[in-house]
Symmetry: C2
Subunit: 196 residues, 2 copies
């Protein structure tokens, strides 16, 4: 039996916790953003939605580049801090070792196991949200957790990446046990008749 | 030390696993989509990115409405199945108890603990990806897991919702332990000087 909530909450979960980086007037800035997600693998697209007054937005519009840095749970305090204070007030790049990649203007965080450089391919606003769609230029990963199979670099499993998981209950969580494999669990046990 | 991956992978995680519903020529259809995410709470926006040839897209364009249904781990097989077969071949609505809400044309799944009805507010394409931005019209939740505090309906915590967690390693996971609280962990231990 269902209940309708009093407000139309966009109750989608889990939310990926990321540190979005941009270069604002020459200084790397990072903000903690959960309003982000995968838009496709080929072409490799990620979007970020940010309140129009965020300091980070300025740098994205200045350089047309940005980064997504994915912290592991050992960076929980710094990550949360980046979401609690503005780059207009403090220099958040002092919290991290910063580096640049192919795009030269998308600052990245050495301490995050995964760093993604993006070129802005589309930008639009809905009310006070400014939405950026980026195409991935390069993906960087810690050598220690990289899996190499037959000379090919394979991405690590989710537990190795140990991400910070978030939801609208405003709590952070760790990843739990593996419960299945994609494109496999369903067909093992379910079969529907073909449409006529 | 970082390594650049051979391909520019949009390695963002965790990915929320959802069943996106639309009414295609009168029949509810659901597809398993992880290319989705929160675009903002106020206004309440969620986007879905779907390959242009997906059957579900037809129903979204036909009615300008769609639904996001969030399965718990007990629906893993059915969820994975919905991502493995096309509604053009089988009638996936036969897997679930279907219901409609305020929008009348956005089919929802009774067995999912959370159901969100959305009106299409923006649609665009990047190469073969069709991207839909919806504004939430109503959010429905199982009465059993609803938390009521002082007469106000509060959303449940993430472990109560027991979501299916996914990442580009193609495995499904369960949520783990709570490790902190938003907008709290950082300021407990970190303080940077104010900009001059």
């Amino acid at each position: 039996m269902k209940v309708k909530l009093d407000y139309p909450i966009p109750l989608i979960y889990p939310i990926p916790i990321t540190l979005v980086g941009s270069l604002v007037e020459g200084t790397p800035n990072y903000t903690c953003i959960g309003d982000t997600g995968l838009m496709g693998i080929n072409p490799p697209l990620i979007f970020v939605s940010s309140h129009a007054n965020h300091h980070t937005n300025k740098g994205i519009m200045e350089n047309l580049t940005f980064s997504i840095n994915i912290p592991a749970t050992n960076l929980l305090s710094k990550t949360d801090y980046c979401g609690s204070v503005s780059g207009s007030e403090v220099n958040k790049s002092a919290l991290f070792s910063n580096f640049f990649g192919e795009l030269k203007t998308a600052p990245m965080i050495e301490e995050c196991p995964v760093n993604i450089e993006l070129s802005l391919v589309k930008e639009f606003s809905i009310e006070h949200r400014q939405i950026f769609v980026g195409e991935v230029a390069a993906t960087h990963i810690d050598r220690d957790i990289l899996v190499e199979v037959d000379g090919l670099k394979k991405i690590p499993s989710l537990p190795q990446l140990d991400p910070i998981i978030y939801a609208l209950d405003n709590h952070y969580y760790r990843i739990g046990e593996q419960i299945g494999t994609g494109y496999t669990e369903g067909k093992k046990s379910i079969s529907l008749p073909q449409n006529a």
